[in-house]
Amino acid sequence: MSDAPRKRTPLWDLHRQAGARLIDFGGWDMPVQYKAGTIKEHKAVREAVGLFDVSHMGEATLKGPRASEAVALLATNDVAGAPAGKAVYTLLCRPGGGIVDDCIFYKRADDHYDVIVNASNTAKDLAWMRECVGSIVPVDDHSDETALIAVQGPKAVALVDALAGGGLAAMGSFTFTDATIAGVRCMAARTGYTGEDGFELACANAEAPRLWTALMDAATPLCGLPIGLGARDTLRLESRLPLYGNDLDDTTTPLEAGLGWAVKLDRHAFLGKDALVAQKARGLTRTLTGFRIDGRAIARHGYNVVDRSAADPVIGTVTSGGPGISVAGSIGLAYVSPAVAAAGTLTIDCRGTDVAATVVKGKFYRRPGA
């Protein structure tokens, strides 16, 4: 274990005061849960509202006359073709099609894009962007000055809208705007990582405690809670949102991960396009497949999918797994061949016991009305 001190977000003191249990997450000292615990936190987001400190994520700006050219080269999705004010989920791929990261670009203008990337990949992503497009546009890193708070759940939009004095509730999904919320200048994006409606709010570090406290004061009477990384993981898994480092990595491609919708093979030229066109023509050898286990056994990251009648019984790998909290059984994602996925059932070696699982297409959880 490294002796380097863990990095702290500007909300660290508030988390400690709230009774958070802090763990090392990619070098950051982050709340894994607060006093309520993961299950209650998860339910608060599904039923009311939850606040997440995601200030450990990385923020950068690509601004210059050739910015659109740069993001087109980097992004598998059509970021450059989006209208100003749109937030676009995309993959960054290597020429071979492997995923450098998944991230969201925010298009301010044809010459100005912001991007938010995974905390654990911030250094890698910035190095990758600079290597690929640094000669045509500067990549400015704001990660150390920027806090990020996610407000998620059925009561999230009205809560944030009220603290902004109105005007935000009408925003469309995956759009963003600059706003003043509880007196704090923010970039407010109608995005999230829970399957619920809500906002992600970026502001200056120094303002973050004031914003968090105002949000928490408004959320508490609504049965809202602060939410740790534990529930962040169970929420995203139920909504089948991939996690980089579990379900995605440098060796997996967006097509294998079921993210073809965020890859525009028929539009712009981008890094990895040729490899992905070829992979699509060839057909996939593995596909990220959702499964449900009836009962409480949990198939976790790294467990093998097996076929005991095969010469080599290991036919796949679980990349994410956990208890369903808003859905029955336990759930997970595994890479298996398309033929195995189509057969509809999997056998997973859960610490020496073979457990039957049923293939689930689409999201495990879908919010009412969505």
Partner: protein, 128 residues
């Protein structure tokens, strides 16, 4: 966090209560805090033999899975059946309703080899 002074403890954060020639076993508050919300507990059946230091069960939480190790050798004479449907009892009361099994010891002397409450307190302090 406090731990009862009338129990014995292991380095793996199990507790043992010796009473009337039998020993009841559970996991400590510290262990519960580390695990987070518990979702599944697998325990042996009444009549099963357990061996000191070897696995007798499993605890699954939202975030992780951990083995349970027998503090002493013996025969399982009672199992907390309530945990099958309500594993959260361990989170709510690890030293009370969250007990796991009762063992009839093969060798009662093994109890004395376990950590005292004071020694366990030192272990916790060293891990803080």
């Amino acid at each position: 966090m406090s731990h009862p002074t009338d129990l014995r403890y292991t380095n793996d954060h199990e507790w043992l209560r010796a009473e009337g020639g039998k020993a009841t076993v559970g996991i400590t508050h510290f262990a519960v805090e580390q695990l987070g919300d518990i979702t599944l507990i697998e325990l042996p059946a009444v009549g099963a033999a357990v061996t000191k230091g070897t696995r007798f069960g499993t605890v699954e939480s939202v975030k992780s899975v951990s083995d349970l190790y027998a503090p002493i050798s013996g025969t399982v004479v009672a199992v907390n059946g309530a945990l099958k449907d309500r594993p959260e009892l361990v989170n709510e009361g690890p030293y009370a309703d969250g007990w796991m099994i009762t063992i009839e010891p093969t060798n009662a002397g093994e109890v004395e080899e376990l950590l005292t409450a004071a020694a366990y307190g030192e272990l916790l302090a060293s891990q803080a």
